[in-house]
């Protein structure tokens, strides 16, 4: 079982809060599985299934196939805009 800190940036933070700590039954889990798990637990989190919501693990942007281990930081974020 692993515990992960999952944070949210941008519009999705309004719906999901800035951060959640979650426990998962497996020893590792993919980003895509985290999205699916959250969406199942929480109606508001269905937004995480949209492709424009990107993910980063330990501050690197990754795809859904990326696997996450204990101690790693997961970030989901809405569309970015600077300038």
């Amino acid at each position: 079982m692993i515990r992960l800190s999952i944070s949210f940036y941008g519009e999705i933070a309004d719906r999901l809060g800035r951060e959640r700590v979650m426990a998962f039954a497996a020893d590792d889990i993919t980003v895509g599985e985290i999205r699916a798990e959250l969406a199942q637990q929480d109606e508001a989190a269905a937004v995480l299934l949209k492709p424009q919501i990107r993910a980063a693990v330990d501050s690197r942007v990754v795809g859904d196939e990326a696997s996450v281990k204990a101690g790693q930081e997961v970030v989901f974020f809405s569309i970015v805009s600077g300038g």
Partner: protein, 153 residues
């Protein structure tokens, strides 16, 4: 060639940044700068009381550095500076300051233009406008995406 990119959590003084950037510069004839200011009127036409730029403690500054480096490499200019505010910003305050130095002006204009197009769509900020009665998240506009698409990469 030098590239400087940084996040600024306090006021950003565009005049002082420009003065520092041109100081002692005798090889480059051309410096183009862009200053982005927080507007009083939002994209929806309503008055903006406060703009908030959320940022990530690692990824945001890194995105600035990567975009500034890509700009310097692509146009072969001498120096690139990018300073970006984060946090709470009042109308009239400077959000972003970009400067590019080059021996000749054409490259300096192009590089500054390119860097701004990429910052608009790729810098890792999340921008929220608060008016008197409501708030909204700001995403790049269609125009921003069209501007970005002018450059082939």
């Amino acid at each position: 060639m030098s590239v400087e990119a940084r996040l600024e959590l306090e006021a950003l003084d565009a005049g002082a940044e420009l003065a520092r950037f041109i100081s002692g510069r005798t090889e480059d004839g051309a410096v183009v700068s862009f200053t982005g200011l927080a507007r009083k009127r939002g994209g929806d036409g309503n008055t903006v009381e406060r703009l908030r730029l959320d940022w990530h403690p690692v990824m945001t500054e890194r995105s600035l550095i990567e975009l500034a480096e890509a700009t310097a490499g692509r146009f072969g200019v001498s120096d690139v500076l990018a300073v970006h505010r984060a946090g709470e910003i009042a109308p009239g305050e400077t959000i972003v300051f970009v400067a590019v130095a080059s021996p000749h002006r054409r490259q300096a204009f192009q590089a500054a233009d390119y860097l701004m197009d990429r910052l608009k769509t790729e810098a890792m900020f999340w921008k929220h406008e608060r008016g008197s009665s409501s708030g909204r998240w700001i995403e790049p506009t269609e125009q921003d995406r069209a501007d970005r698409a002018r450059w082939s990469d």
